[in-house]
Symmetry: C2
Subunit: 123 residues, 2 copies
Amino acid sequence: MTKQRKLVLDIVENSCNHLTAEEVFFKAKEEMPNIALGTVYRNLNILVDEGLLRRLTIAGHPDRFDNTRIEHEHLICKNCGKLSDFRIEGIKEKLKEASQENVQSYELNAYYICEDCCNQEVM
Amino acid sequence: MTKQRKLVLDIVENSCNHLTAEEVFFKAKEEMPNIALGTVYRNLNILVDEGLLRRLTIAGHPDRFDNTRIEHEHLICKNCGKLSDFRIEGIKEKLKEASQENVQSYELNAYYICEDCCNQEVM
DNA sequence: ATCAAGAATAGGAATTATTCCTAAAATAAA
DNA sequence: TTTATTTTAGGAATAATTCCTATTCTTGAT
């Protein structure tokens, strides 16, 4: 655990948003001005592999990163991309049961149109 | 519904695999040798927006496309990327309930290590 | 059918997110 | 402390996808 990796982990864990690699990079630069973008990407990948962070992949958008302390699902506005969290109890067990496999992790994204976009009529 | 769009739709609907845009493109070329890759992408996007196809986004892999006739979830090997389907009854209703929003679509990917990869020891 | 208007296409350039490469620096091991 | 291993910074390369433009299709009204 190098200091760069620790920094990346801290930034993601202490952010209430779901940050992109680039956002993590800019925050990291505030503390370590010459950290490289590649380093951020590499460490994010390592941290995800180790299970310390979760990756959130949404079509057409860059990946976002999330802490793993509380399992949760994501609700995404189809129109503006706004992202929020919600929970479904016991989903992981359901997945294991339904798939008959040892599910290690999962990603559950629900798409809707948020209120703001609904009210804009034109889309 | 142009003939290009119809062809793209037919290819995805009549394939039991989950095809990438490029795979759709090569299949489409067999019927229409000078269809353009951009046309395939554009039409896949339109068909997804119209709800006629589903998009399947997996981190680090190109998007895949799926027919929508039967709602189903995806089981993905973390190691080799092997992809299979499974079902969870009534998940969409659960999502609406849990999120308190009008969920229009969702994507549920479960990750595991497939038997082949398990047996290979080295990963 | 003929024509005009709008939409879709082919082909290729451009963009974007991400990974890969390499030499230098840091860390760990002996 | 010397050696071996890992990681880094910086930038080039890659891959998937979108964007651009001139041309071709459709379509619907006359």
